[in-house]
């Protein structure tokens, strides 16, 4: 008897565990979107022609050429943006940007080494030279320019709202009165939404994936953060989620690198411009964030300084 009750309790606990697993970091692509990369008519990822005999007067690049590999810092938990699946394969729009830049700098895909670097240690990692470049939803701002150099911007992101596909009531930040909005603790868009003028209730969790799960469970009405990140989640579940598309802050994403390496900065800017012109950029977008159904926008002009 004793044994049987604890066995059933164990079963219950396991069940609870299995159920909550969906609330954790899920690496599956949710409901298969129409444009799933396995489909016949799905947008294909472009391949980038690797340049040869690249000569740039850059210390970082010379070191990387000698080592025969380019180390790029990235995110690993943002689906269709910067994501690492269980097998260690990386995918997403930021990853594609890294690949096209690396190709122009003369590195083959197998010479490209990704390293996961979290937001709070980006500046330190770059200035210590642990990564040669950094591509991962890295907003360019003056405070950061004191510590790192930026090429780009290659994408103009902005805080936006992710809602359920059938949501009619929310059309932008001004229609949030009495609605519940989820984001992660300490995020900038949340500070904005908290302002009394919006009249929204907020929920703060520790992972975006938890917020998305709450949204799917009808426990919150919207999730807020950079639209690029939200588009990634919408691309995972295009039948259930959509991004409003009314950005209410400006977050230009750049490629981070050593602060004083102007030669490398110019080379990366050249690479970005080249791939934006020849259509690779759009192809990369269509095969990643574009799967969310959010329309393609022209990339911002790079700022050389």
């Amino acid at each position: 008897m004793k044994f049987r009750t604890s066995a059933s309790a164990a079963v219950l606990a396991t069940l609870a565990l299995a159920l909550t697993a969906c609330g954790g970091e899920s690496g599956n692509a949710g409901d298969k979107p129409a444009g799933e990369s396995t489909g016949a008519n799905a947008p294909k990822l472009p391949t980038y022609a690797v340049a040869s005999g690249v000569k740039v007067d850059s210390a970082t690049l010379k070191k990387a050429q000698q080592a025969g590999k380019l180390v790029v810092g990235a995110k690993n938990d943002q689906p269709y943006l910067g994501f690492e699946d269980t097998t260690g394969k990386r995918s997403g729009f930021d990853v594609e940007i890294a690949k096209m830049v690396a190709a122009d700098l003369g590195f083959k895909p197998e010479q490209l080494e990704f390293k996961t670097v979290d937001s709070n240690v980006r500046e330190t990692t770059i200035s210590k030279g642990e990564v040669d470049l950094y591509v991962g939803t890295y907003t360019i701002n003056d405070e950061r320019k004191k510590q790192v150099g930026f090429a780009g911007p290659y994408f103009k992101a902005g805080a936006d709202l992710l809602v359920r596909k059938d949501e009619k009531g929310i059309t932008g930040p001004d229609s949030l009165k009495g609605k519940t909005v989820c984001s992660i603790k300490g995020s900038t868009p949340l500070q904005e939404i908290k302002k009394p003028k919006y009249g929204a209730k907020t929920v703060e969790l520790s992972k975006y994936s938890e917020c998305v799960q709450q949204l799917l469970n009808n426990e919150v009405d919207a999730v807020t953060t950079d639209d690029a990140i939200l588009k990634g989640y919408a691309a995972q579940r295009p039948a259930k989620l959509k991004v409003i598309g009314q950005p209410f802050t400006e977050e230009p994403y750049g490629v981070g690198m050593n602060k004083d390496d102007k030669a490398l900065r110019d080379a990366v800017n050249d690479a970005l411009e080249k791939h934006e012109k020849n259509g690779d950029y759009k192809k990369a977008y269509d095969a990643t964030l574009g799967l969310s159904g959010s329309p393609y926008a022209e990339p911002p002009a790079v700022e050389r300084y």
Binding site: L12, L19, G23, E204, S206
Partner: protein, 215 residues
């Protein structure tokens, strides 16, 4: 030092949040714990089984997992639309109730069987025996372990900070994110917890003295 003065409101809110959450879940855990302990010593087999299952389940599940269940399972399977605070209250009090139950049961087991038998032979019902004879004697024994359980509860309430509840530990996270010196923040937050846990242990020492009876 400055970080405390500049963000006194935040610290105060966090402190009050922790105190309220600890107090509320302590109260609910106490009520649940006594009921479940009653179940576990009752003469009715299904109730005994229920009590055993309850304790086994909640005592052996990590608290963070219970929080995840409260957030991602309870709304879907049981009640939708609970506030974050209610979810934290449920997770904390169910978890703690299992420990309270076991402390009380061990207290009940220290009361000589002759006491209960005497009560029964006087014609008291099971619940009367428990209420009038056994529990009052058991109380003295359970005060020290209960004190430890409530101190643990205070510290466990920090997990609620990661689940959208304003409390002391969340203040630490918020201020660290803003880039203040972590040493000072930790010092003040730790002091806040100390104030609460010292009050609890002081209160229980007082109870122990009041209720202490020579056996």
């Amino acid at each position: 030092m400055n970080v405390l003065l500049d963000h006194l409101a935040d610290f105060r809110e966090g402190f009050i949040g922790t105190v309220l959450l600890t107090f509320a879940s302590g109260l609910l855990a106490m009520v649940l714990g006594v009921i479940i302990a009653g179940f576990r010593v009752s003469p009715v087999p299904p109730l005994r089984m229920f009590g055993t299952a309850w304790v086994t389940l909640f005592r052996n599940t990590p608290l963070t997992l219970l929080f995840l269940v409260a957030w991602f399972v309870v709304p879907v399977v049981f009640v939708p639309g609970l506030s974050p605070w209610m979810k934290a209250l449920l997770a904390l009090s169910f978890y703690t109730s299992a420990f309270v139950c076991e402390a009380i049961r061990s207290g009940i087991n220290t009361v000589p069987l002759g006491q209960a038998e005497a009560a029964r032979s006087l014609g008291m019902s099971f619940s009367q025996t428990l209420r009038l004879i056994v529990l009052p004697q058991a109380t003295r024994t359970v005060i020290p372990p209960l004190s430890s359980i409530f101190i643990a509860l205070t510290k466990n309430s920090a997990i609620a900070g990661a689940f959208s509840v304003t409390e002391l530990f969340g203040v630490q996270k918020m201020l660290s994110d803003q880039g203040f010196t972590i040493t000072w923040i930790f010092l003040w937050v730790a002091l806040g917890y100390l104030v609460i846990t010292f009050s609890i242990s002081g209160l229980f020492r007082l109870l122990e003295r009041r209720l202490g009876v020579a056996r």
